[in-house]
């Protein structure tokens, strides 16, 4: 029995197999409509995350399975003080697989250590969110036809953005992927990402403050939000905030087949005018999230 807690738990071959399975689901949805009949997914969401929860739930429903769970800690026994370990043991008696979102880092690992059914980490604080990374990878694969030999730009808050760190880790395992890390000085990738991912993986990357300068080289642009509260100096925030807002004019020098991704929710970092641009992939990403979660549920439940 396996769980998915961290994207690094999966080998490149397993990621490729999941992506291939998701693509087969997209091509032949009727083939999978009853694959999880009589199986139950428990969505244990200790903090609200409507999009991720509904993505998991619709994934299970489209596989013919059923869904139980809660969407905030107040409506669970956690409000009475039950430990994550005990909840995991109890839910193992009711469901076949768990998807857990928790504000504390490592809570899904505690669940996996105590459950007798697979656990999927659906986000644990600022730590891991592996199904978001799988979603990103499936989107890049569908848009570019490959996951190797490309230049990926990551733009915005690269210091606190866990989705960027996971994407760097996952994509650095594919051959010929170069990264351009576009951020203000204050929000550059943290030291542990530099040593554990970039240096350890011998990754080719460069850092810049200018999205405009990087734009012509990019095959993929992964946008994240620059939040005011991340800046020490208000003056720096005011000076830099617009630099990282993607507007149509900034795409003038972009490749015609650029893929623009964003983990969502978007606030103002991508102008709504970009939504009509065929290079905008962030809403396709949401749909891909459901398909890759279907593939993951099948894998962890060992359903062929």
């Amino acid at each position: 029995m396996r769980s998915l807690l961290d994207i690094a738990d999966l080998s490149v071959e397993e990621i490729d197999a999941l992506i291939a399975k998701a693509q087969d689901i997209i091509a032949n949805p009727e083939k999978y409509a009853e694959k999880c009949r009589r199986r139950k997914l428990a969505t244990l969401f200790y903090e609200p995350s409507t999009r991720t929860r509904l993505s998991f739930e619709s994934a299970m429903l489209e596989l013919g399975g059923q869904v139980i769970g809660f969407s905030e800690a107040q409506s669970s026994s956690a409000a009475k003080g039950e430990s994550v370990a005990d909840t995991a043991r109890v839910i193992s008696c009711f469901a076949d697989i768990i998807a857990m979102r928790h504000p504390m880092e490592g809570a899904p690992r505690v669940a996996a250590m105590n459950a007798s059914i697979p656990v999927i980490n659906a986000g644990d604080g600022g730590h891991n969110h592996p199904t978001q990374t799988l979603t990103d990878l499936l989107t890049i694969k569908r848009e570019k036809g490959r996951l190797d030999h490309m230049t990926v730009g990551c733009c915005g808050d690269l210091k606190f953005g866990r989705t960027v760190h996971s994407l760097l880790g996952a994509m650095s395992r594919y051959e010929g992927v170069d990264f351009i890390l576009i951020s203000p000085e204050e929000l550059r990738v943290p030291e542990h990402v530099r040593t554990d991912i970039l240096k350890a993986g011998n990754v080719t990357y460069r850092e810049t403050e200018s999205l405009q300068e990087a734009m012509p080289e990019l095959d993929v642009l992964y946008m994240t939000r620059v939040q005011r509260e991340r800046f020490i100096s208000e003056a720096d925030y005011v000076r830099l905030k617009d630099t990282y807002i993607l507007t149509p004019d900034k795409l003038d020098t972009a490749k015609p087949d650029l893929a623009i991704l964003h983990p969502l929710p978007r606030v103002n970092e991508i102008s709504v005018a970009i939504d009509r641009d065929p290079r905008a992939c962030y809403f396709k990403q949401v749909l891909n999230g459901k398909f890759i979660r279907m593939a993951l549920i099948l894998m962890l439940l060992e359903v062929e």
């Binding site: 430990s83 504000p103 504390m104 880092e105 490592g106 505690v110 600022g126 730590h127 542990h192």
Partner: protein, 137 residues
Amino acid sequence: MLIGTIVDGIVIDHIPAGRGMELYRYLELDKLQCEVALIKNAPSGKRGKKDILKINEVIDLNFDLLGYIDPHITVNIIRNGERVEKRHPSLPQEIRGVIKCRNPRCITSVEQEIEHIFRLTDPENRVYRCVYCDTRA
């Protein structure tokens, strides 16, 4: 400085200077009834300075913990005033229930019953990380 000679006991030598008290606490030597001496900043040929712990009783030692502090530590077992065994700890793959995770966002900070576990993630630089939140020890 004079420290009484050990007849039956343990001398933990070559502790990195400044970490003797940390090891004293981790090994819970304060709970022993026998004589225990901590020598700080003793001269060392290899490192300039070192700490030494002398325990006047042969006790079970957590070698994983010693290896985590420094695999170059030497443990000398003394019987009848003679050194009968000299051991070096190895770098453990995992260390359980000793070091606490300092990340306030880690699940271990709110659920007290969870065992703190650290895994060796970078043997070259002796980096251990919390298995739950990946915070460095």
